[in-house]
Amino acid sequence: MTPPAAPIDLGRFQDGFAQALLAPEPAAATGLAPEIAALARQPGFAVYRNTVMKGCIDALQANYPAVARLTGEEWFRAAAAMFARQHLPAQASLLYYGEAFAEFLARFEPAAGLPYLPGVARLDRYWTESHTASDESALAPAALAGFAPEALATLVLHPHAAARWTWFADQPIYTIWERNREASFDESEIEWRGEGALLARPQGVVRSAKLDAAGCAFLDACAAGLPLAAAAGAAREAQQDADLARLMQILLETGAFGRTSASA
């Protein structure tokens, strides 16, 4: 007579179950505890495998809609499944799932022919960050009108909590993203050159704008706490022909700034 086996330890059960959930062929996975291997052979085990993968893939598709539109759903879901097997969500809120997705796409061989995908994924990510950032009043477009020129020069414009921007030196990522974030019928030719992007949320809706190198340098300087005169200098340094009046109009209309302060 063999004594009854001791009940499996809860933590060891979870180690084995989690391993079998992600194994390519759970029934054939080696090193599983006999109890887990027996569970993995039951037809019901596939329900958990499918639900976990579907939860991850659905979340990625929701969080990266421009990437999914560019690649087509079938390609996207296959790539997302490979990503999910390598990177399960690290936090319980799937709203932010996919932090490493842009980097994954940059190294993903089947995406080599679509070199703009990682950049588009970064802008999808920025959209999520902007959408869920802290609430803050955006600096109104007319707010700077009352300042004397010398007071403006020393004013610090702080980027809004929901503002995200970046410069893509080699590719028109913003235009590609903007045409694919939602269905677009704009099929005009895209000029293949570097572009910057700004996403912000002045009220309840995320807005975006194309920036030039000067715009991105200007915002970088503002984020570093530099006053307007120095930010303007940084913009001109990035791009000699910078149109600062036009730039300020775009930034204010998109809601790039929150509070202001006088420089020390």
Binding site: A38, G44, T132
Partner: protein, 279 residues
Amino acid sequence: MTACLTAGLGLKPQHYEEALACPADGLWFEVHPENYLVAGGPRLAWLDAIRARHPISLHSVALSLAADAAPDPVHLARLKALAERIEPALVSEHLAWSTWRGAYHPDLLPFPRTGAALRRIADNVARMQDALGRRVAIENPSHYLHLDSHEWDEIDFLAELARRTGCGLLLDVNNVYVGAHNLGYAAATYLDAVPGDLVMQIHLAGHAPDPNLGRALLIDTHDAPVTDEVWALYQRVVARIGPRPTLIERDDKLPEFATLLAERDRAHALLRAPLAAAA
């Protein structure tokens, strides 16, 4: 506060405007708090607006109470902050695990109901209740697997968990139906054995046959109307234990708001009936 709640609906972003405006008697809404753990923005603004008009239930899916580890204190603190903001009518979680060793598996995973598991889960439920400063309801999950290592049956396990922690139960009638069908026991017998005084809330949802195995394996899909069999079991429960706040859960293949509201009205009428009879 829960005395006035009858039947509620899961709140979906597609339905925010209609949910906000809906004047139905006894209506409340349930959300997964994980979808609202954000710093700000329109999602939270919608939830605040709807909360100003309707009671809200926070139905957590990711605290992983049945994992062999304490719930993530950071996640628990964020849940507490949301609960302080929303002042929910009810808070609930599942008798299941999802997060393990830092990885979140988006599902409600099974475990062997042993004495050791009971001690761990009672500790985790107590941590949740202590953090939130309130009694929570624990939900019976759907079952798809035969585990040989169970030492407790599920109702005894839940009742003992309630005795040790003071928690209540969220009785998901569809999960009982699906689990009973898949594992081969009688759903009605299970439901008749549930201690009625522990039940704080009831869930109803639709299910579907497995795409490959057909009705040999039912899946708790939340993508279809509640079936007649589940409605009948629900009536049986309400007749025995009395009315409880009841949620129509729909997470996939979302129909129009009016269609969901009609389904919730059916539960509302069933919940009002015993009150009318008693009056």
